[in-house]
């Protein structure tokens, strides 16, 4: 049996991707894109890590090792991966509560993320933040808020007024918790809602589309303009672990998206069809990823909880230590910056 060497594989190939709908733009992102073998393998690995990490989180939640709210990202991986592929770690990113994927692409390790979910001292926020509140350098969380509120329009106004280099990304996964977008939005053409801000409607299930659109948007911004980007995507899980996700959509719908538009399948097809990788090689990556997730889960379930001395720390930055009232007047605790 002869092993295939790396010289057997195509080093890069050109793909035709879906054209973006444009708003207030004369031209959009390229529709012919080049994917190198290395890039493909890297995206594949990253998406698989995110997918497996979220599925493991599902498992741990059901075992009650993760508590509270847990909003899973599986299905939406191409958005985070494609986005990060066209920006730098020195750029700044902020998101809402479905944040595990971005925490990873922004530099968090799977171990840190999972240990945060299980509330351990090795967590990325030392166990104090939980699922919705993870942070990295140039990544501002992880927040409980959403963008359907009026503040987003205030922000559009100021960004455009002051020509701030911002890309507004809306990952439209078709449902706001249990309510479909058609029932919640007078116009579901979100990419047009910036009015005086140009917009792109992008296929968020294809990592190449997202990457290309982000590249276009980033160039646009770095040349001094504001841009709105809207990604049409899908989440396989319900809104959170308390939502089965079946009362407002059908199993058929979920199955159809999984079979026709899954980001992993799409990337795999691209790579295999152009002979950029072999089935065995991708399987090999799957095995490595699985092991990485298992190790992280092992860490996340055995690492000790934060020490009680940590309880009152991190109230203020750069302050001398001060006293914090406990549950009664005789309990005095200490806070260190």
């Amino acid at each position: 049996m002869s092993a295939r060497t790396f010289t057997d594989f195509t080093t890069q190939a050109t793909f035709e991707i879906k054209k973006c709908d444009l708003f207030k733009l004369d031209e959009g992102p390229a529709t012919q894109v080049v994917l190198t073998r290395d890039e493909g393998l890297q995206y594949y690995r990253t998406i698989q890590i995110m997918r497996r990490m979220e599925l493991k989180a599902d498992q741990l939640y059901k075992q009650k090792m993760i508590r509270g709210f847990c909003h899973l990202y599986d299905g939406q991986e191409a958005c985070a991966v494609g986005l990060e592929a066209s920006i730098n770690l020195s750029d700044h990113l902020i998101t809402a509560y479905r944040a595990h994927g971005y925490t990873y692409t922004r530099g968090g390790t799977v171990k840190e993320i999972m240990a945060e979910l299980t509330g351990r001292r090795g967590g990325i926020a030392k166990g104090k933040g939980g699922s919705m509140h993870m942070y990295c350098k140039n990544f501002y969380g992880g927040n409980g808020i959403i963008g359907a509120q009026g503040q987003i329009f205030e922000t559009y106004n100021m960004a455009a007024l002051w020509k701030l280099p911002v890309i507004f990304v809306c990952e439209n996964n078709r449902y706001g918790m249990g309510t479909s977008v058609e029932r919640a939005a007078a116009s579901t053409d979100y990419y047009k809602r910036g009015e005086f801000i140009p917009g792109l409607r992008v296929d968020g299930m294809d990592v190449l589309c997202v990457r290309e659109a982000t590249r276009f948007a980033a160039d646009h911004c770095r040349s001094g303009k504001v841009c709105l980007k809207f990604l049409f995507t899908y989440r396989y899980h319900g809104h959170s672990m308390s939502d089965p996700g079946l009362s407002y959509r059908t199993r058929e719908e979920i199955r159809e998206v999984r079979s026709k538009s899954d980001p992993i399948s799409m990337l795999k097809d691209h790579m295999l069809s152009q002979n950029m990788a072999s089935v065995e090689e991708l399987k090999g990556i799957d095995v490595e990823v699985r092991k990485e997730i298992e190790d992280a889960a092992q860490f996340a379930t055995t690492d000790p909880e934060p020490p009680l001395e940590e309880l009152c720390n991190h109230i203020f930055y750069n302050e001398p230590p001060f006293e914090v009232r406990g549950t009664n007047p005789w309990t005095k605790l200490k806070s260190i910056s």
């Binding site: 509330g119 104090k128 009362s247 309880l311």
Partner: protein
């Protein structure tokens, strides 16, 4: 046939035993077990039926049956016009609700949790609470704001805040905080019937807890007056005052302390504003000691207000020791379980505080 039967019955109960078996048997008043969730549901159902101006709006209240299933079945029964799903836009839909109340309807505005009410707080305070005053009595705002308040389990810093002190601070608002199912039903019905803006602070951890509902409480016209506290347990040694979930904690602590001969009087505040200070004062004048218990932060909290009011009134001279406040720890809510458990009052903290207050 019926007439002769009636003659028989009127002749008294000492008739043939066979007849007694056929007699109309009046059963003793039957209490039932009902969860807080079902009690709230029943309250809204009854008020929606009673007054067609009443309607419910909020996120996921209709087709999803409520994020916490409190409004289960209501949309099916009352339809789109009375149970309305809103987009996730608190400031927007709260404003719409306040306007509806001003125009003559009686909205129940649900916040998925009161943490989200911060997005809409200007509408609650400036549009709802102050309007009757600003208009010198011309424009009233009969609206109810309801939803879960305070800490849940593992929902971390942005989803665990108690708003009792924030809303209790504002003139023009009434604020209630039910503990058990009777409280929930009676106070919510009163809130809906009230002509003024009422904030109903529920508790997510209590939704699934069953409590006994007396026969009186099962009636469609059962209401609990806003502004009246309830003594849940009589005692002579010390007064414990709490609202919502911590009433249960106080009763648990009282049971433990009773074994040591300490009899706690436990007061369920029921209403935060207007606060029933008189009931607390009467109790303190009997027991001479007071401990307040709340889940919220200590600074400017419910306990702080009770301390001030006691000091300003007749009960001050009856205190044998300063009032003790048992509160949440003065930090944002951490996520990790061990830290969260130590951020809120436990039953053992109440027992400890009682003994310290009594100098035992």
């Amino acid at each position: 046939m019926a007439a002769s039967l009636r003659c028989f019955l009127r002749s008294g109960k000492n008739t043939v035993s066979a007849l007694q078996r056929r007699d109309f048997h009046r059963s003793a008043p039957a209490a039932v077990q009902m969860t807080v969730r079902d009690a709230l549901n029943q309250a809204m159902d009854e008020e929606l039926e009673r007054d067609e101006r009443v309607f419910l709006l909020g996120e996921e209240v209709a087709q999803y049956d409520g994020a916490y299933k409190v409004s289960r079945g209501l949309w099916k029964k009352y339809g789109d016009k009375r149970i309305i799903d809103t987009p996730i836009s608190e400031m927007g839909f709260t404003g719409i609700a306040v306007g509806a109340a001003m125009a003559g309807l009686r909205p129940i505005c649900e916040f998925m949790t009161f943490n989200f009410s911060m997005q809409a707080i200007d509408q609650i305070i400036n549009s709802a609470a102050k309007t009757y005053y600003m208009s010198a009595g011309l424009q009233s705002v009969p609206i109810v704001f309801r939803g879960p308040n305070g800490a849940s389990a593992g929902v971390a810093a942005q989803h665990s805040q108690c708003f009792a002190a924030w809303y209790g601070h504002c003139p023009g608002l009434k604020v209630v905080s039910p503990w058990n199912s009777e409280d929930a039903k009676g106070l919510l019905k009163s809130a809906i019937r009230d002509e003024n803006p009422v904030v109903v602070l529920e508790n997510e951890l209590l939704y699934g807890v069953p409590f006994e509902m007396s026969e009186e409480a099962q009636s469609k016209d059962f209401t609990i007056p806003i502004g009246k506290a309830k003594i849940e347990r009589q005692g002579n040694s010390i007064t414990l005052v709490a609202h919502s979930r911590y009433v249960g904690h106080c009763l648990d602590a009282a049971a433990v302390l009773a074994k040591e001969g300490i009899e706690c009087e436990v007061i369920n505040l029921r209403t935060i504003r207007p606060m029933d200070v008189e009931t607390i004062e009467t109790s303190v004048m009997k027991t001479n000691h007071l401990v307040t218990v709340e889940g919220g932060w200590p600074q400017f909290g419910i306990g702080a207000e009770i301390c001030a009011r006691i000091m300003e009134g007749p009960a001050f001279n009856y205190l044998d020791s300063p009032v003790t406040r048992v509160t949440g720890v003065d930090i944002p809510m951490p996520y990790a379980k061990i830290l969260e458990d130590h951020s809120l009052p436990q039953v053992k903290d109440i027992i400890f505080s009682v003994k310290k207050t009594l100098n035992i």
